[in-house]
């Protein structure tokens, strides 16, 4: 498993908010994504779009409900396609399977196209431990690999880096001259990567969809590196979460409409690869050996909980990140593991352990913008609420904020239990607030919790007469 830093959410998010350079980048890039998505949907027609979202939701829900059946159908068709299928329960199993293939083929150099699941398992480190060089070939991934960082966003891993950052990185790590324009930077990386492509022994990719009735692996990419990773080396390994399966090739078109529009606002990505078996003897366009690794790594825990199962419908477009005011404020690294943003706030706690990630489901105003943009209509806020409830069933021990919250909730319940208690609380509240009220507003209360509020906002005082009192004295007829 890759490094888990979910407990540092509060600290990391505060630092991110203070980082004005990062804030500028986030504002710019997120607005760009959101604008592109909106334009694409307008062009597609909002009604058509919502119909298609509903279709996507129905297909995914049906698939996840019958996951065992579709996975076994997919596996048997993969075998028919003369590829090799593996099932991995957890991160280390994935890494072991890959290492074994690498050892069998005496491979030295591996090229990779973007794969979030390999980030989950920490695959690059596992390979480097056995002395294998692994090179990321997606430009964004290449950049963060050079910078020794983790992806900042699920589809735009290096979005937090400016062109100046990248130029500096290339100078330091690759000895380039100073490059100031983006196309030149891309060109420089392309040249560096070209040699790796030509010399690699194995190509590793993720998968966007696994088609059960044909055994097809579908890759949706923009840079062409995915296609090179699956065609140039003799061996190709695709690693995919078990939720990536869809029933039929006839369902694929719906998702090829939904994914790029929701993700980048594109009608279609530059490359869509449908991979079946390894190459036929007369073809020069495919690898000679293909492996598919289907990964659980905590997904069965999501599947087992009827309230969280819907999270497996996710097609990893990133639209919920792009619209989320919390993601826009704290950025991807604050979340402390592979999947940030609203969908990350659901899957991460379940995959790494709820007690290690209590901030993630709680750090949300529940505004629901994520639900509105999700191409498969996942009800993210409802699942955040479910996780909040689960956290309270087994709260972190000896945790002061948690004890305060528990006390506050008990107090709130005791006071709101009935009207008599509420009216007593109303009277006591007015006495307590008396020293702080000036001109019908409270600008400062020097006690913890309240002082956090009054630092940036005035507080509304309790009214002289509650509505209950007004009703009894003046309004009742």
């Amino acid at each position: 498993m890759s490094k888990i830093e979910t407990t540092k959410f509060k600290k990391a998010s505060k630092e991110a908010i203070k980082n004005s350079k990062l804030q500028n980048t986030l504002t710019g890039v997120m607005a760009h994504f959101d604008h592109a998505r909106t334009e694409a949907i307008n062009e597609f027609g909002e009604t058509n779009w919502n119909d298609l979202r509903e279709r996507g939701k129905i297909i995914k829900t049906h698939t996840i409900q019958n996951l065992d059946q579709y996975l076994s159908e997919f596996a048997s068709n993969v075998r028919k396609n003369k590829s090799i299928i593996h099932f991995a329960d957890n991160a280390s199993e994935v890494n072991n399977i890959v290492c074994e293939i690498v050892t069998t083929h005496k491979a030295q150099l591996i090229i990779k196209s973007k794969s979030m699941i390999s980030e989950e398992t920490g695959l690059n480190n596992a390979l480097s431990d056995i002395g294998i060089e692994t090179v990321e070939t997606d430009l964004g991934e290449y950049i963060i690999q050079l910078a020794d960082e983790t992806p900042f966003h699920i589809i735009a891993p290096a979005m937090h880096k400016t062109k100046e950052d990248v130029s500096k990185l290339f100078q330091e790590k690759l000895g380039s001259k100073k490059i100031s324009e983006i196309p030149e930077l891309a060109n420089f990386a392309r040249k560096k990567l070209r040699n790796k492509f030509l010399n690699a022994d194995i190509g590793i990719t993720g998968a966007n969809f696994l088609v059960a009735d044909t055994g097809t692996i579908v890759l949706v990419t923009n840079e062409g590196n995915g296609r090179m990773c699956t065609t140039l080396p003799k061996v190709h390994i695709a690693i995919a979460g078990m939720e990536k399966v869809i029933p039929s090739i006839n369902d694929l078109a719906s998702f090829l409409h939904l994914l790029p529009r929701a993700a980048t606002g594109q009608r279609l990505t530059s490359y869509v690869s449908l991979l079946n078996g390894p190459k036929a003897s007369d073809s020069i366009e495919e690898s000679e050996e293909r492996h598919v690794i289907i990964v659980d790594n905590g997904r069965s825990k999501l599947l087992a909980d009827p309230q969280l199962r819907e999270s497996l419908n996710c097609i990893r477009c990133g639209a919920c990140l792009n619209i989320c005011p919390v993601y826009k404020a704290v950025g991807g690294h604050s979340y402390g593991w592979v999947y940030p943003g609203p969908i990350g706030a659901i899957v991460t706690p379940v995959m790494v352990g709820l007690n290690k990630a209590t901030d993630l489901p709680n750090a949300s105003s529940l505004c629901g913008a994520c639900k509105d943009v999700c191409p498969v209509k996942i009800n993210i806020p409802r699942m955040l609420l479910h996780l909040r409830s689960k956290i309270k069933e087994d709260p972190p021990k000896h945790n002061i904020p948690n004890l305060i919250e528990k006390f506050a909730s008990e107090l709130f319940w005791q006071l709101m239990k009935n009207q008599t208690r509420l009216s007593i609380a109303h009277t006591i509240g007015k006495i307590i607030q008396f020293p702080f009220v000036r001109n019908n507003t409270i600008s400062k209360i020097p006690f913890p919790i309240f002082s956090t509020w009054t630092r940036t906002k005035n507080l509304m005082p309790i009214a002289k007469k509650s509505f209950h009192t007004l009703w009894e004295s003046e309004l009742k007829k």
Partner: protein, 243 residues
């Protein structure tokens, strides 16, 4: 005479009873007799949102009991309406009898502007005053996304002759309140709020309105802190001709 029950919400009851008065005034003027069950307190949303599901259920049971015999329930809050309509049935889904009761309340509960619109209630001219005012509308998240109410409040405001609606940039963005979220994560909430405040200031409005007093308390608190002369008013107060 048509009869409806009022659930005034704890925030309005305790902090801004004028909103409840405005709602009463409007409904009475338009021919409704109002029933205000005095045992009502809070819908339980603060507890529910913080994960205290069992306690939230107790509050939900109270509320369900209190309004058991009402024809309809009007609530001047999108957020509390969403709690009752969307989350109460969910809370009791494993208890068929309680679920039925929850669903019964959910079906007859309406957010205030939704109720006015559904009942085709016209705001009487006698409630309008002549003072021209600029009003910016903040669509609260639960109203817009949990209940799907987008146009009702805007159409109502448009009918008020002395009101000029001014747009605010990115009005659909959350103000950052989110109940205890604003206390637990003040930096994140604060960033969301400051963007909202900037957008409101840029709009040059004199009044900021919404269907939810909780957002207005949050937004209004920051405006007051910054000594901005922009007044937060609940939509019922504007419709009742307050200024």
């Amino acid at each position: 005479m048509k009869k409806t029950s009022l659930f005034v919400t704890c925030i309005i009851d305790q902090l801004v009873p004028e909103v409840g008065v405005a709602v009463t005034k409007i409904l009475r003027k338009t021919g409704y007799s109002i029933d205000f069950p005095s045992e009502q307190t809070c819908c339980g949303q603060p507890l529910f949102n913080s994960g205290f599901t069992e306690k939230a259920k107790l509050m939900a049971e109270n509320t369900i009991k209190i309004f058991k015999n009402s024809n309809s329930v009007v609530i001047p809050s999108g957020s509390c309406t969403a709690m009752i309509r969307n989350f109460y049935p969910d809370l009791f889904k494993n208890d068929p009898n309680a679920y039925k009761e929850a669903l019964n309340l959910a079906k007859k509960t309406f957010e205030f502007t939704e109720f006015l619109t559904k009942q085709k209630i016209q705001i009487p001219r006698s409630l309008m005053n002549n003072k021209q005012k600029k009003v910016a509308y903040h669509p609260s998240c639960h109203l817009m996304r949990e209940l799907g109410i987008k146009q009702d409040p805007i159409e109502l405001l448009k009918k008020i002759t002395n009101v000029t609606l001014v747009p605010i940039k990115n009005s659909q963005n959350c103000c950052g309140f989110g109940g205890t979220f604003s206390i637990k994560y003040p930096e994140i909430s604060g960033k969301m709020l400051s963007e909202k405040i900037e957008a409101i200031k840029t709009s040059k409005t004199g009044i900021i309105t919404s269907c939810d007093m909780s957002c207005l308390m949050h937004i209004g608190g920051a405006l007051k802190k910054q000594k901005e002369n922009i007044k937060p008013l609940h939509i019922a107060q504007i419709l009742a001709g307050e200024e």
